[in-house]
Amino acid sequence: MKCKSLVILLFVCGFFALAAAEEGSGPPDSTHVDSIPPPTPVSMLTARDSENDHGHSVTLMWELSTDDGAGQNSVLSYEIFRWVPFFMDTLQSIRDSLAGAEGTIAEQLRKRRDQAIAMIPGAHKSYPEQGGWRKIGTALSGQSSYEDVGVKDRGSPDYMADHTDYYYLVDAVTADPAIRAPSEIVGPVQSFGQFFNTGRIPVFVAVLVFGLLTILFVTRARRGAELYVRPLAGIEAVDDAIGRATEMGKPILYVLGLGSAADIGTIASFTILGRVAKRVAEYQTKLIVPCYDPIVMTVAQETVKAAFLDAGRPDDYYEDIVYFVTQSQFAYVAAVNGTMLRELPATNMYMGVFFAESLILAETGALAGSIQIAGTDQVAQLPFFIVACDYTLIGEELYAASAYLGREPILLGSLKAQDYAKAAVIILAALGLLAASLNWTAFINLFSVTS
């Protein structure tokens, strides 16, 4: 009897011990679907038009669910829903029909599509009766924002109309997609484009300051102020090089480079070509200008023609001084090299945008015994020109050449503005170094530029 009671007592104690052990084992494993309780929803959900864009985009932000990375730790993702009017299905079916249509049917469908697109803002005002929630995206756990980006192309299924009411909600979702917590609905919110990108204010200020500096120094130069610029050996050698060619009775080869007419280096080269062509016309030396780009060729022809006119020798100009070769890099180089080795110019000038062919040109010119003056803003090619040419204009010296050659006060004035801007950059770089070392983030943030 006593044994029987003892066994029963032990059994009951064991039962209670087991129950207690289970209670103390912590929250249920969230991978076990049966045991997941609903998570808490996100809070403080806000929706606003995305900043600094062309419109068609809404940014959502929220406070994370308390079960995301804490609490029950059951939230794996957030699903974002947008309220979409049923009317959009009608529009989509018109788009689908348009995909395979041709001729007049396609024309009619396009008209219907455009009429439907114009009705989108109105359709969105039928919230909440004439539509439903559609999932538009997912954010991972830990993410507290989402950007709903549409396109501005009205024909696209992803078109998101501006000035239209949108409504959003965000679901906190667990491992079981059925177990989720929806947030409060937020809206109406409208998207629209901004007229100024505030993320680029530092660039705007820099452009304004530089522009004002340029105008200031140009004005000073116009009033007759003396502006000193340091001498450049390459520029000073241009006249001597032209004289050498005249004495030897050999031509001058001028290569404008491989840039297009929109490249600043090429534009700077046009100005130098104009000055060289004027001297060449005065001395009646032969000039050869092979071109890589057809637009560059047309501008160069006008430049040389005007220079000959300025020198009072319009009859000496003929169209074939400046000619197009090819728009293939190495084919162009092969042609110019051939010209160098046949014509044996006394002077070669390489002014503009150059690439890998720079050393081939310069070495061949050295082989032909020419004096060579080069100028390029392509940093990679500078070492080759420096090694193989007699004089080299480095980077911005090419842009400054026009001011040097003409010595016009206005051009010199703009050069001084560049110098002062460079001084400002040096000072700001030093201050930036100090700020980065001392962690003055406010100062650093003043200069940060966002998209």
Partner: protein
């Protein structure tokens, strides 16, 4: 008038493109995309002018039998041959006039010219660089003074960077070469790039304000 209109156009569009960078609104984007389309159109017309210039110069050299007149013959032959291949081809079991250029490089004659003439010739020209670098380095890297000696040593270190036969010195040289590229080279290049950037902005402003007029054909 002939000069004022281009200057006015340059000013208007130049200022617009500056402001377009700061205005993300759709209306500015629309004008920007419209302008981009026009650049393509102008480029095509300019190409036609360029080809006409090339033909004229080459034919003049051939007519006058100028020294080296064989080269323009080859140039013209290449030009007209490719045009011919663009308009004739083998299709539907026969040779004839078809507009083959629409097929691009799937046209066998284009493909052959590209694979067996264009690629070898362009690769050969690029390969010339190796020889010219050798001769330029031989001529230029002389320790004439302190700066030239520094240049020489830096060049030697960077060239030996990939060499696997230097044993324990290889790592020292590779690290020195990396330091040279990432520190003094970087500093100098940044300075040059900043100068070029400011020069570009300055020149662009001069063009927009009509101070720089070299592109118009008169310096």
């Amino acid at each position: 008038m002939r000069r004022q209109i281009p200057l006015a156009l340059v000013f208007i569009f130049g200022v617009f493109m500056i402001f377009q960078y700061f205005v993300p609104h759709e209306s500015s984007e629309w004008i920007y995309e419209f302008l981009l389309d026009w650049i393509y159109i102008i480029g095509i017309f300019a190409l036609a002018l360029g080809i006409w210039s090339l033909i004229r110069v080459s034919v003049a050299k051939i007519k006058t039998r100028k020294s080296g007149w064989g080269y323009p013959v080859i140039t013209m032959a290449g030009l007209f041959l490719m045009i011919l291949f663009g308009f004739t081809g083998y299709r539907d079991g026969s040779w004839g006039f078809h507009f083959m250029t629409a097929e691009g490089l799937s046209n066998p004659m284009f493909r052959n010219f590209f694979d067996y003439i264009m690629i070898p010739i362009q690769s050969t020209m690029f390969a010339l660089l190796a020889f010219f670098i050798a001769s330029a380095a031989y001529r230029a890297f002389r320790a004439r003074n302190v700066l030239a000696s520094l240049l020489l040593v830096a060049a030697l270190v960077v060239m030996l960077r990939f060499n696997p036969y230097l044993g324990p010195f290889g790592t020292i040289i590779a690290d020195t070469a990396s330091w040279l590229l990432n520190v003094p080279n970087l500093a100098a290049k940044r300075a040059i790039i900043i100068g070029i950037g400011l020069g570009m902005v300055g020149t662009a402003l001069k063009i927009i304000l009509g101070i720089e007029r070299g592109y118009m054909g008169k310096g």
